[in-house]
Symmetry: C2
Subunit: 344 residues, 2 copies
């Protein structure tokens, strides 16, 4: 290391060892080890002395050694498409709250919506021997599926249910049904020239649009000019741009379903700029029902998805499995709720 | 384990071992180990056979064993206040992009804005022997500081600079200076009855408000009735509620600085509902310049903070240290930019 001494305050002291703790506490290393791992076997007085020395020195027990000795690693790997998307932030929080309360750490991986990236992340994570792994969705590469089947740990597939057979445990909603429910709602409200705006177009976005289009088609209301979708990442700004494309292609559009709330916010802002009245001239709906959707003007009709609950349930299922519990229902459909508000 | 056989598809096969790979490849376990850890020492033909067997079986090399043998753990611990806040999502993405490109995993911890929680998280993380740790801010408990000083790994303190001496490496901005810059901007624009809305009131929010108030006071414009702050978590809805409180206490307020953009969005929506014209009747400014701030109506004046860049720089500094590089500048102030738009 070429660092100057002043930069290396934290390194110059070296790692605090078990024997440093032992000499400060005035006991043997064996006694320190016993006090930490099997506290019932030492006196309260010794426990206190060891605890004081551990705190004073900042001693860190060696988790890697315990992990090799066949004990748990107390870590859970979580593989999601995007760490910066508000949808996954809520899911992560649900996972995190359960894991941290049980003393588990979370290893986080970001697939950037790529199945190749997902496979290599899963391979890399498994070398850390997490006690369990949570991955996103049912649609994955065969190599990832093989790895997960052979890993010998509980696997939860998160976010969607019903599209295919899960590897092990599975919690989510049916995105196809949710899209279909929104199409039926809009048709029931009397809209007849209904558009769809999509971005990112990951597996679940595609399912939502498919469910939506199937219902429109069955009602004789499907018009491909009104389906505007891009693989670009979803942003608020993009919602306004896609609305411009839709209205250029099909000016008589009277309603638009955005495959997420971010796009819908952008559509609302763009309508304000163009003086398009919502819902009188154009009805707008989103998906996920983020926190701001009930506050924006007009308030946004959206599909409320149990994001936090999905994360929490996935982590709960892992924890129950790790406790040796039998899981009666390995596939959990948490359902969704169409939240009707002023915009549509 | 009490699970039924059908639930245990992934467990029933057991963990794939080195000797499974060896027998499939038709070589000794020693040769497999060599092919994986020291590939130059075996023939290309053997490497290919081992690689095929590894892929077919989904074999996972034992990272815990390597970690104990004194090699790196290839993990970085990241301790942040909130995993679901958009501000930290962007920071995390910056850290993640650097770490994952270098083959490092990220252990994520959430302090829920509590210094006690932060200390215990740091202690827990260090038992995993990450190669480096990134923590949030300069304000931490003495016990956490002691642990980090004794950990023998690089430590980056992220988000703020200039408030106190860092433990090791440090990257961020001066929140006090940023608050002061916004106050000067509003005074220069001619606003005279300026309010402040704050939520969460963590260390950095307090610094922003302090910098803002100091400038108001120096200009003879400080009025404590106009400072409305709550320890509640920040949401868009809360922005509207706090605006109601402010206008009830001080109806002649002509401008309001919100300590983050979420609160400012809520203020804009509430002004729309109350038919308060922005900026003619009330100027509104935010902080962080999130993606939607340039799209909302009116577009939001905010302080642009280099969130992604902070995360990226923190991870870069750690990686350079781990490569044995000397870091000339252990404290990096990335600065901020006042982004003037229509709202103020």
């Amino acid at each position: 290391m070429a660092n100057s001494p002043s930069q290396n305050r934290s390194r110059s002291k070296g790692r605090v060892t078990l024997s440093d703790v032992a000499s400060m506490a005035g006991v043997s290393s064996m006694t320190v080890s016993r006090a930490l791992n099997d506290p019932e076997r030492v006196s309260e007085q010794v426990r206190d002395r060891v605890r004081e020395a551990v705190e004073a020195l900042g001693y860190i027990p060696n988790r890697a050694a315990r992990s090799l000795a066949g004990q748990r690693s107390y870590s859970i790997a979580v593989v999601i498409p995007s760490v910066s998307n508000a949808v996954f932030s809520n899911v992560i929080k649900g996972i995190y709250d359960v894991c941290s309360a049980r003393g588990y750490e979370m290893l986080m991986g970001n697939t950037y919506y790529s199945v190749q990236q997902e496979s290599s992340l899963i391979a890399k994570f498994l070398t850390h021997h997490p006690d369990g792994i949570i991955v996103t969705g049912l649609n994955m590469a065969d190599s990832a599926r093989t790895l997960l089947q052979g890993a010998g740990i509980p696997v939860v597939q998160l976010m969607e249910v019903g599209e295919s057979e899960p590897i092990d445990l599975n919690v989510g909603i049916s995105h196809r049904d949710a899209g279909a429910a929104m199409a039926r709602y809009m048709l029931d409200k009397g809209y007849r020239h209904i558009g769809v705006l999509g971005a990112q177009m990951d597996h679940r976005a595609q399912r939502r649009i498919q469910g939506f289009i199937d219902v429109l088609a069955a009602a004789g209301r499907y018009d491909e000019r009104r389906i505007v979708a891009t693989p670009e990442p979803s942003t608020v700004r993009l919602g306004g741009l896609l609305l411009g494309d839709l209205l250029a292609a099909a000016p008589d559009t009277d309603a638009v379903f955005c495959i997420n709330d971010d796009l819908a916010y952008g559509v609302i802002y763009e309508c304000q700029r163009r003086h398009i009245r919502i819902p009188q001239q154009l009805a707008v709906a989103g998906f996920n029902d983020l926190e701001a959707s009930s506050c924006i003007n007009p308030s946004l009709t959206s599909v409320s998805t149990p994001l936090y609950e999905m994360g929490k349930t996935a982590a709960d299922m892992l924890m129950r499995r790790l406790n040796g519990e039998h899981i009666e229902q390995p596939v959990v459909d948490l359902g969704f709720k169409l939240q009707a508000r002023d915009s549509a």
